[in-house]
Symmetry: C2
C-alpha cells in the first residue's frame, strides 16, 4: 500500500482520550429515559428496549475482567471522516477489555450482514487505517434492512461464528435501524447486542444525547478552507461572485457553520427560507439586492453560500416537485417520445396546477428541462441532482440584466458556480474527529462488554479539551418519534434542523448585513494536524455556540 | 482584520532562505545569452537588453552599501499562491540593501501603473500578508500594456515620486511585458529598471532559467489533496466515477502532476491527445474502455483527471471552434432572433465545413447549445467556459448505454463531475512556495540594487533543501522567440507544454495501465505547515523527476 508522506506521519498520531477512559472504568446508571415524542407508540414498538437509563462511564478503582467476545462492525450510509477511528477505538477498547476479544467487519454496509460478507479485522489491518479518512476498510452501503426475514438472516450469520454484538456506525436512519435490530434480537432472545455510533457530516443527528455527529467537524473545515481560498481569490481579482453550494442533505447546518467560519457576503439558510415562506424569486431578489448594493460601493465580487437542500425548503418549489413526480409518472411514456424541450415543457406544464405551472414557467429553460429529463428509476425528480447554485446564478444574472436595461445597475456582474461535497466526506479526520471517533469506538467496546444493547455511544462536554470529555451511552429509543415515511407511520430518530432561535443562527443573523457590505472574509486554510493546539484542536463554531 | 487561528500562526513563519542570501553577497556574471529562437528578430527588437549575461549571487566577504532607492511592485494576471511572499522578500531585501529604501505597490495590475493607482507598502502593511495566499495586498489585473503611450505614462507616473525600479510579478505574458518595458525604458533613457518574477499555477513558464514558476507547487497540492479525498470516497462507496477537470489553461502540467501525486485510474494529457491526433470520440472510447474493464473486475468506480485545455488540443475540435468563431460572427444577428435550440444548431451547422459539421453534430445537444450561446463580447466561443468534464461524462454515459443495450456492458455506471481551479489559486502557499517566493523577492531586491534591468529573478537547485538553493537572474530575452498573436508576429516568452519525452510523462505512461486496473490511490491530504519536513517541505514530482 503506497502512502503519501502525510498518511505515514498521520498514522502515528495517538488520539487524545478522555481521562476517564485512560484508567479502569465502571458503568453508572442515570435517569430512566423517554422518547422525545409519541411515547406510547415508541414504548409499544420497543417494549424490550424502551425507557432504559442513561449510562455514564466513571473512574473505577480496579480493572474489571470481562468474558471474551466477538464483535462485528458495519459502516452504514454516506461516508464521514473518522469512521476508521471508530473502528480503531473499538478494536483497542475490545483488546483492553479482554485480549482474547475479536473484531469482525461486515462488508459493503448493512447488506453485508444479510449476505454474510465478513472479514476479521486484525491489528495489522486496523493499523493501516488509523487516523485516515474514508470507509474503505470494509466499505459502506445505503441499503436499509426492513424485513424481518433479513433480521433473521443477520442472526443466522452472526450465530455461524458466534458474534456477540454488532456495532452500527451510521446516521439517523442507520441508528434507527440499530434500535430496531436491538429490539428484535432481544425479542428473539438471540443474545446478540447492538450498539449504534452517531455519524453524519450533515450535522442533523444532534440532540440531548449527541452533542454533534462525527464527521461534521472535518467536513465543515474542508469546505470552509476551500471557501476561504475562493474568497481570497474573489478579493484579489475583484471580478467574480462565487455561488457555492454545500452538501448536507436537508438541514443547513453545514452552510451555517461554514458561514460562521468564513464570513461570506451571503449565506442562505433553508430553514429560514421555509419559515419566511420565501419563493425562489424572493431568494433571487435577496441575493441580487446585496450584489447591487456591493456594486454601488465598487465591489463587483463576493461569495454566496447555498445549502444543498434549499429547493425543497421553498414551499412553492416543494409543491412543484411533488406535482412533477405525479405528472412525470403519468406522462412518462408520452414524454420519452417527444424530441423538443419546449414541447416537453408544454406537455408537463399543462398537467400542473396553475400555481405550480407558473413557478415551472418562471424557471430557466435549461433547468426546467433537467427537472423533466433527470428522473430516478421510479420516475421521480432527482432533487439531489438539482444544481441550485447554477439555478440561482442564472436567475440572478437574468435579473441583473433587467436592472441594467432599466438603468438601475451600473456595475459589472460575472459569476462562477461551485459545489463541494465529495471533497469533504472522506477527508482525513481533524484532530477533533479523530479523537472523538476513537473515543466513541472505545466507549462502544465497554458498553458491549457490559452487556448493553439498544444504546448509542455518546460523548459529552465536548467544548472542553478531550481529556475532560464524558463518555457514556444513551438508549436510542429516547431520540425517537413517529414520522410518516412513504405513507406509513414509522418510529425514527428525529432529525434536527437548524434552530432559528439557536445561537449559531442568531450569530449569523446579527452579522450578515455587516458581512454583506464589508469584505470581512476569514481564511481558515487547510486542516492542520501537527501545529499548535489553537490551530489543530478547535471544534466547530456551532458546537461552541450551542454548548457554551 | 479578523484572522483564523491558522492565519495567525502562519504569520509567524520565517521562510527558509538559501544560505547564500543569509550573508553578504556579490553578483557574478556568467555566460552571455541568446534567445531560444529567432535570434535576429529578438536582438533587433531588444537591442539594449539582448545578450546580457546570466547572473549568479555568491557569498561576498563584506556587506556592500547601496544608494537609497524607491521600488514599485505590480501583480499581473491570475493569482498564484506566494505572491505576497515575493513582496515580503522584496521588502526585507530592500531594507537590507539600504534601510532608507522604500517599496510601493501599483494597484489592480498593470493598469495601475498607467492610472497611477499607487500605495506605499509599509512594514505594518506587509506584516499582515506574510505567508498568506492571494494577491489582495494590492490586487491584480489582466490588462496588458501594449501602447507606447501607456509606457510613457508609466514613466511619467514613476517620475512623479522618483520610482527607480519596477518589479513585475506575472506569467509568460507579463514577463514578456517586463522585457518590453525594460527595453523601452532604456531606449528612452528613463533610468527606470524592470525586474520580472516568474508566476503561474499552470506550470508553463518553465525553461532553462526558471525551474518552476511559483504557485504551481501549492495549487497542485491543493488539487491533489481534493482528488485524494474524492478517490477515498469512490473507493469507500464504490459506486461513482468522478470526472475531475483541473485548471491550468493550455498545458497539462497540473493534470500530470496531480496524477503523479494521486495515481488515478485515468489521466488525460492534452499534449498526447494532440500528438496522437485523437478525436473527441477517441478520448471517449479510451475512457469508456477502462471503465468497462474495471467493471468486469467488479469495480464500478474510479477517477478520471481532465486538463482544462483539452478541447483545444483535439485537432478536430480546435478546427470546429475556429470555424464557429467565424460563423457566429457572421450569423450573430440572425441567431439572436431564433428561439429554438434545434433551429439555432441547424443554422450554424449549415455554415460549417462538412468535417466540422459532423463533429458539431456528434456533440451532446446541450453542449452544442452552450457553444453557440456563451460567446465573448467579440462573438467568440468561450473556450474557458467549456465544461469538458461534463461533456466527456455525457458522451461516456451515452456510449455505455449503447454498450449495455448491445449486451457488452453488464456493470453499473454512475458519475459525478468536478472542476477545481479557484480553490487553488489563492491558497496559503506551501512551505516550498513560501520559501521560493520570499527568495525570489529578496533576489529581485539585490538585482535592482545592483542596477540590473530586463532580468527575471531566478532560483536554481530547487530539488535540494532551501539552504542550498542558488539565487540569481537571467535576461528575459533569452526565453523569447517570435510567435503569431492575433495575426501579427510578436516577441514572446516561449510557453512550455508537457514534454512527451520528459520523465514526468514517461512515469505516467509506464504506470497508467497499472493504475487503471488496480485501485492504487494515494491520498496526499491537505497541505501541512507545522509537521515533519518530509510532510511539509517536499516539492512537486514534476520538479523532482525533471531535475534529478
Amino acid at each position: 500500500m503506497l502512502k503519501s508522506p502525510l498518511q505515514v506521519a498521520r498514522g502515528k498520531y495517538v488520539p487524545k482520550m478522555p481521562k476517564i477512559l485512560q484508567g479502569p472504568v465502571k458503568l453508572v446508571e442515570g435517569d430512566k429515559t423517554q422518547s422525545v415524542a409519541d411515547k406510547e407508540d415508541i414504548k409499544r414498538l420497543f417494549n424490550n428496549t424502551y425507557g432504559m437509563p442513561i449510562l455514564s462511564l466513571l473512574p473505577a478503582s480496579k480493572e474489571k475482567s470481562y468474558p471474551a467476545i466477538k464483535v462485528a462492525v458495519v459502516l452504514s450510509g454516506g461516508q464521514a471522516p473518522g469512521g476508521h477511528n471508530v473502528i480503531s477505538g473499538l478494536y483497542d477498547g475490545l483488546k483492553r477489555c479482554n485480549l482474547a476479544n475479536r473484531l469482525y467487519g461486515f462488508l459493503g454496509g448493512p447488506l453485508g450482514m444479510v449476505d454474510n460478507q465478513i472479514v476479521e479485522l486484525t491489528e495489522d489491518m486496523v493499523y493501516h487505517y488509523r487516523n485516515t479518512g474514508g470507509f474503505d476498510i470494509i466499505g459502506s452501503g445505503r441499503i436499509k434492512l426492513e424485513e424481518e426475514s433479513q433480521y433473521d438472516k443477520v442472526i443466522e450469520n452472526c450465530k455461524k461464528i458466534n458474534i456477540n454484538a454488532l456495532v452500527i456506525i451510521g446516521g439517523d436512519d442507520s441508528n434507527t435501524n440499530a434500535a430496531v435490530l436491538a429490539e428484535y434480537f432481544l425479542k428473539k432472545k438471540s443474545g446478540i447486542q447492538v450498539i449504534g455510533v452517531p455519524k453524519t457530516i450533515d450535522g442533523d443527528l444532534k440532540n440531548e444525547v449527541v452533542e454533534t455527529p462525527f464527521g461534521f467537524d472535518t467536513a465543515c473545515k474542508v469546505y470552509s478552507g476551500l471557501i476561504g481560498n475562493i474568497q481570497r481569490d474573489a478579493n484579489s481579482s475583484k471580478k467574480y461572485f462565487h455561488f457555492i453550494r454545500l452538501m448536507g442533505r436537508s438541514a443547513s447546518h453545514i452552510a451555517l457553520e461554514c458561514a460562521l467560519q468564513t464570513q461570506p457576503n451571503i449565506a442562505i439558510i433553508s430553514e429560514e427560507v421555509e419559515q419566511k415562506n420565501m419563493s425562489l424569486d424572493d431568494v433571487v431578489k435577496y441575493i441580487t439586492d446585496i450584489i447591487m448594493r456591493r456594486s454601488i460601493q465598487g465591489n463587483n465580487f463576493g461569495t454566496v453560500i447555498i445549502p444543498e437542500g434549499l429547493v425543497e425548503f421553498i414551499p412553492a418549489m416543494k409543491k412543484l416537485i411533488l406535482e412533477l413526480n405525479d405528472v412525470l409518472a403519468k406522462v412518462k411514456d408520452k414524454i420519452d417520445l417527444i424530441e423538443g424541450n419546449r414541447e416537453r415543457r408544454e406537455l408537463v406544464a399543462k398537467e400542473l396546477s396553475p400555481e405550480s405551472a407558473e413557478v415551472f414557467d418562471s424557471l430557466p429553460y435549461s433547468f426546467a428541462n433537467d427537472l423533466i429529463i433527470d428522473r430516478d428509476p421510479h420516475g421521480n425528480v432527482l432533487v439531489s441532482k438539482i444544481e441550485t447554485e447554477k439555478l440561482l446564478l442564472d436567475m440572478v444574472t437574468l435579473r441583473i440584466k433587467e436592472k441594467k436595461k432599466a438603468g438601475d445597475f451600473k456595475g459589472k456582474f460575472s459569476a462562477q458556480p461551485h459545489f463541494f461535497g465529495y471533497e469533504g466526506r472522506c477527508a482525513s479526520p481533524s484532530n477533533f474527529d479523530a479523537d472523538y471517533c476513537y473515543t466513541l469506538g472505545f466507549t462502544a467496546s465497554i458498553l458491549i462488554s457490559e452487556g448493553k444493547t439498544g444504546y448509542i455511544a455518546s460523548v459529552k462536554n465536548m467544548i472542553k479539551p478531550a481529556e475532560e470529555w464524558l463518555p457514556g451511552g444513551a438508549p436510542i429509543t429516547m431520540m425517537m418519534n413517529m414520522e410518516k415515511r412513504q405513507g406509513i407511520m414509522k418510529p425514527v430518530i428525529r432529525k434536527t434542523l437548524v434552530d432559528l432561535k439557536g445561537k449559531p443562527f442568531i450569530e449569523l443573523k446579527e452579522m450578515r448585513e455587516t458581512w454583506a457590505m464589508n469584505t470581512m472574509y476569514i481564511y481558515p486554510g487547510p486542516i492542520q494536524y501537527f501545529g499548535p493546539p489553537e490551530v489543530c484542536d478547535y471544534s466547530t463554531q456551532t458546537l461552541v455556540l450551542e454548548k457554551s
